[in-house]
Structure formats: C-alpha cells, structure tokens
Symmetry: C2
C-alpha cells in the first residue's frame, strides 16, 4: 500500500452539497470507463497491467540488456506521449542527473521532439566517439518531428556502422500491422515492438513505448506493472468512493468554483519530469470544447522563491495538488558549524528529510490560509512499485474526471490544427487550398 | 537592433478603446519607474547597465578565469533570483546540455535550491574525484535552503582540500556590509562580490549574482551588459509607446478580458530555463493583492503534443507570448531518403530552421484561430547581446506592467508566509506562539 490520496487539508474549501452535486456525475463516468468499447475509444490502458503480453515483456528485457551491453548512449526518438513517460520514469527512479552520474547503464537522450537545428547539433556532438543504439517510437512513422530526427540519426549511424551493424542497433516501437515505420522495419528486418491499437500516446508509458527505455536505465519493469495492477485492484476494491475518483471529483468541484489552474507540487527535483508527463495527461485529456483545468507544475522549495508569491497572494483562480514523498534513498543530517554563522544552529544534526517535510507542511498551511485549496497525494519512495501505482492512479483519475467534465478524455482533436497549417506552409501535396488561405492572411499581416 | 516586439498578430483581439483605456495607466507607471527613489524601492536594476562598477566587473572576469583554470565543477549555491538568471543565461548562450557537452570550461551545478537529501546526494556523487569551486550567493546568508547547502558543501570541501585551499575556492556574493555571510567571508578572508542594496533577487542577473557563474561558462559578460544598455537607450528613444511598454499594455488589456494565464512559448529547447527565469520575474512581481497574470511556459513543438490541445481548444482564459529566434548557430538540412518511407520527401534538402519557423507560424495562426491572442518577441540569435536585450526588455515591461496593475512590482510580501510556518514547525526560537497555533491546526487534522 504505497500511494494514498488525502483530501483532509481541503475540507474548508467546499460544502457537502457542492461535493454531492459533482459526485452525481461519477457513477455514469465510471460506467462509461468500464463499458465494453471498440478499439477507437482508446481504453486499452485500462486492462493493461493484467493483460500485458508476457512474451513482449521478455523481449523488452532481452533487448534492454543487449543495449546496456553494447551501447554508451540510447537515443530515444519520439514526441509527446512517445517520450514524456519514459523520461519521467527514468528521472523519478534514478535522478534528474541520470545522464551525468557514474553508472553502468547507457546515457539516454530524447530526440525528435523539436525542430531546433541547434538542439539536434548538440545531441550529435554528445554522440561523438560513443556507441549508440536507437529506439524510434511512432505509431504511424510519419510524425514530422520524429521522422525527421530518424532521418538525421540514420545518417549519423551510417558514418559509424556497417549496414549489418545498424540493423542490430535500431529498435522500432510502432503499430503492429501498418504504417510507414512498420513497413520500413519489416523491409529492413529491424526488431519491432508494438504500440497497441487501443492505447493513446499519453496513456502509453506502460507499453513498450515507455518500458523499453525505462528498462535500459536498469529499472525493474515487472515491478512497475505490478504497482499499476495493485492500484487497479485497490481502487476497484474501494468502490465508487475510491481515492482516484475522489481526486477527480474534487478537481471538478474546484473547477466549478472557477479555479481554472491546478498546480502539481513536488518537493523532489527528480519529480520534475513526472510533472511534465502529468501535464500532458491532464491537459490533453481535458482541455477541449472550451473547457478544462490548466495544468501547471512547480518544484518546491525552489519555486517558493519564484511562483510562491503568486500562489500565496495572487489571483485566487487556482488549487494545488501536492505530491508528498515519505521516504528518501539517502538520508543526510544537517552538519554542525563550529560557530553558528548562519543562525541555523537549531537545525544541526536534524535529518534533512525532516526539514523538507516541515517545509511542505508549513507551505501547505500557508497556502490554504491564503485561500488555495491543497490536495495531497502521498507515496513512499521513488521506486518501481510506487511509480506504477502513481501512473495508474492518474490514469483512473483523469479518465473519470474528463467524463465528468463532459469531454472525451481519450481524443485530442485540437492537435491537428497546427500540423495542417505547418504542412500547408511547407508546401506539402494536398494542402494547396489551405496554403492559399494562410498566404493571404500572412500577406495581410505584412509577410 | 536585435530584439523586436510584434503586436500585429493580436490585432483582432482588442479594440482601440480597450487599448486606450489601459494605456492611460502607462504615463503614471512610467513616471513612477523614473522617479527618484530610496534604496528600499529596489529600482537599482534600472540604471545598472550604465552604472556598473567597472572594477567589480574586472574582478568577476579574473575570478571566472581562475575557476576555469583550476576547477572541473563550479557549484553555485543560491535559490530563486540567486540562481535562475545564471542558469537561464548559461543554457541560452551554450546549451541545455551544457554540462554534458565536451568543453574547456567547468561543469556548473546549481544547489541549495531544495531540501531534498536525494538531490543533494546526487550532486555530491557528481563531485567525486573532481576539483570544485563554490560560489555561494545570498543577501543575508541566512536563507535556509542555501545556508544548509553551504554547510554541506564546506564539509565536502574539508574532505578534499586544506583550509588554505578552501579559502581559494569559495567565492561569496552577498551584501556589501552586513549579514551572516558577509561576516563569515570577512572573518575567513574569502573573496566577496556585492549584491547591491537596491536590486531585488529577480532583478539581479546583471549583477555579480548572475555575472560570475555566467562568466565561468565562457560567456562575454561585457556584451550582455552592452545589450541591456542598448535596450534601455532604444526604448527611451522610442518614448512612451516603446516596444517594452506596448507589451506591458497588451498584457493588461488581456488580463482585463479575464485572460489570467500568459504562456511564454519558445521553439528552442535551450530557452527553457529562460522561461523559468521569466516566470519568477513576472509571477513574483505581479502576483499579489489577489491579482496578477499566472505565468506558464512551453517549448514547442514538443509541448504541442502535450499542452497544445489545451491551448488550441481548452478554456479560453489565456494568451501566448511567442519568443521567436531568427538565426541558428548550426544549420542542418533534412537528409534525403533513398525511398520516401515517411512521406516527408518534400522536405528533403530543406533547412531544418525553416521547418521550425513554418511550425511556429502555422501554430501561431492555428492558435489565434482558436481564440488565443499571440504576441511575438523576436531576437536574432542566442548570443550575449541578444540575451542582455531580452533581459532588460522584460525588466522594463514587468516594472510598468506591475504599476499599471496597481501593485508594487518590486516586493514579495507573500514569500515570508511559508518561511514563518516552516521555522515554527522546525522549533526555531521566537516562533513558539505560531508553533502552538500550527500544532493545534495539525492535531485537528489528525497529525
């Protein structure tokens, strides 16, 4: 029993009536989530911790071990859901400084998530003189960012390796049957892993999309899946009032009070990328149809000296969800000073983790005093089981939260708009009408 | 002439009347900024690009050269404004991967901005077998996070160096006369640099606070100051309708339309920490008295596959400020494929920077179509002069923007609340009444 949800600190911020009114939406939301559905509803993540293909899992571990053995660097090519989960998990389990630290596993860099030539040039320079493997992740293989990066990376590899060697160093995670990347992989006889048809990008961290890079950093991916399965079982046993659903209900209560921003707060710098993953999960699932809570994130105590002022005293349009870690990997004790130069002598000999938790509690009380409701999610420590639990907790919560809000939490219709415009401006075939329209707009704007 | 502000893409989102009504607040705001003031008003940053102490600047360069020569790692101890500016500048000028890249300047890690024992333990392990220097930055020397880190770091150094060597490796940036850190530095005869009395943390990047770590990464700090001076001169020459002030007016126009969130958008991953610095500058300056625009940030195109859905189609409570870079350091050309496997053959041979700018323009048009006003700030390239211009542009804008909003942009009264609670919970002398009050609250909450 690792992850707990605590609503007690937020009690003063809503009435029983408000809670009940929103909670009425929960039963139909839960029913929608549990209903049989076809593949296009993208609910495949729901059963995943139990249904996972055991053979695929063993293959992931085998390939991860090979990469660990023959590579200094793993380049992961993917954008959005095709990299945020893996990066989050690696930093959570190891460290935000994973790549810089001494270790016997490869450095892992995420590319193909930007069009910046400078950034790509930096990555190329990091690869100089190193043995690299590549995991290219794309459902279709035609996602522009990652497809371009894959072109660059293959050219980079051609300078280092023979054709036969390259085939042993590229691993493809894609559709099981169709798509540009699948066709390419089959023709070149590259090792492939499957992105299930019914799992969307932001729900894909518990598939090969996330699990292969995570396994390369040395993490135990069975334990992650076991944590997710535990969470599913526990929430189901708790019934309709389960902790994940209570989190979902309270988010919607605060939204109905015009608190449009949710800030995910952590006191561990190595949680930062988890917050980025969470921002995608919640923002992309709920932000549609003119609705949705805007997801933001801070790391305290550092950001208490940045956004802390706003949270304490700015516009009252927000609430906080504090992620609290209760155990550390390495305890430290505040060292004594011969002379108490900094006035902190009263802390000498205290556990640093205890100072951190007093900062958390002091801040929580200060912010609730300032009119900001605080929800709390506790986990024990940064290990695989807690990670799996956290991931599945957020999956469950965002699914019913989106349904309660009246949106489809599993689509992302708004993501196409920029792509269409970009293709038109780049002169892609089939976009000439839109191109004319945009050119007219731009010429009116003086371009 | 490097940094430009463009409001043309936002024209349809406000009427001339709305603009004029808000602009009436600009003349008094400008007058307030220019008025003679005492040191407690914290407007020292205003004249800094011209008034900078030339001797101090030479000393910064001399010390930076020494650190470059005898250190593998520089540890910068500071929190909030005492590290965000330097980190932002180093990543902007060099790379988000600065520490990982091959170079002849030291790695630079920022510590003392968290109470996490795990994070500190990671940093200690990075220092193993390396020669380190330390720059400890604190006005008072009693800021808890950085004072504790300084205790740990001195114990770490005692294991590596003699007392005499340590004195040569610790550099103190603090008050010119008083405070715990100043007293300590004087007693130990450590080299000190000055945080001017009338410059607040979030406005301190152009003092020794920012300039020493920035110089260590090999940047030309004279050019940064020259860029800031250029910006000041240019905005003054443009008069009351200058670009920085227009940005401030439009922010307040959108705020009056209940657009409570400003998203700073960049297409360069190495701009990410600049956005963190910007979030502190704007959030801490304006978020008070129940008011203020909430500052958020994204890096596109990656976050188009994360927060892009929300921005395109979620709650219409936001506007975007797009930071556009027009020149790259390393151009790349999209490589051809023998077979057009990814359907991107039409891009082969194109500049990657041109794909990036089409993505920017396509996204801007999509988001404005979706009801999100877009402001644009253009700069030429990631160099010292552009950095100085950008910094000073934002300083000017936030100062008048805060005054127009009716707040004091140079204080941060809300930052004390968490500190008081934390000290009380940690049992510090003088906080016993508050301690009782908090203990009562916590026991009611079941602690």
């Amino acid at each position: 029993m690792a992850v707990r949800f605590l609503d007690k600190y937020a009690k003063g911020f809503y009435s029983d009536e408000e809670y009940s009114r929103v909670k009425e939406l929960l039963v139909p939301a839960d029913a929608k989530l549990r209903a049989e559905s076809d593949v296009n509803e993208y609910k495949g993540w729901y059963g995943l911790p139990f249904d996972y293909d055991k053979e695929e899992l063993e293959e992931i571990k085998r390939v991860a071990a090979k990469i660990q053995k023959d590579s200094d660097i793993l380049l992961v090519i993917g954008i959005g859901g095709s990299y945020l989960g893996a990066r989050a998990a690696i930093e959570f389990l190891k460290s935000q400084h994973y790549n810089a630290m001494k270790k016997d596993t490869p450095e892992i860099y995420f590319v193909g998530n930007s069009f910046s030539p400078d950034d790509f040039a930096d990555i190329v320079s990091l690869c100089e003189g190193k043995d690299i493997s590549v995991n290219v992740i794309s459902k279709s293989g035609s996602t522009t960012e990652s497809a371009i990066a894959f072109r660059f990376v293959r050219h980079l590899m051609l300078q280092k390796y023979t054709d036969a060697e390259i085939k042993e160093r590229i691993f493809v995670t894609t559709d099981c049957k169709k798509g540009a990347l699948k066709n390419f992989a089959d023709r070149e006889r590259l090792k492939t892993f499957v992105i299930p048809d019914d799992v969307g990008g932001r729900f894909s961290v518990l598939t090969a999309v996330g699990l292969l890079p995570i396994a390369v950093c040395g993490a135990d991916i069975d334990e992650i899946l076991a944590g997710a399965a535990d969470m599913k079982r526990r929430m189901e046993a708790q019934g309709i009032d389960n902790e994940a659903y209570r989190y979902a209900v309270l988010r919607n209560v605060f939204y109905s009070q015009e608190k449009f921003i949710e800030i995910l707060v952590s006191y561990e710098p190595s949680f930062r990328s988890m917050a980025e993953w969470w921002k995608q999960l919640f923002g992309e699932s709920e932000g549609k149809g003119g609705k949705g809570i805007f997801p933001a994130a801070v790391t305290f105590s550092t950001d208490l000296h940045s956004l802390g002022q706003y949270i304490q005293d700015g516009k009252r349009c927000l609430f906080e969800t504090v992620v609290k870690q209760t155990e550390v990997k390495n305890e430290l004790y505040v060292p004594p000073n011969a002379v108490d130069i900094d006035g902190l002598g009263f802390l000498a000999g205290k556990k640093l983790s205890s100072v951190n938790s007093k900062a958390l509690m002091g801040t929580l009380l200060a912010h609730t005093d300032g009119g900001v409701p605080n929800l709390v999610i506790e986990y024990d420590k940064r290990d695989e089981r807690n990670l799996g639990e956290l991931i599945y907790f957020f999956f469950l919560a965002v699914a019913v939260s989106g349904y309660m809000l009246g949106v489809n939490p599993f689509d992302q219709p708004g993501v196409e708009a920029y792509k269409r415009n970009m293709f038109a401006l780049l002169g892609k075939d089939g976009y000439s009408e839109l191109r004319e329209e945009l050119d007219k707009k731009l010429s009116e704007l003086g371009h």
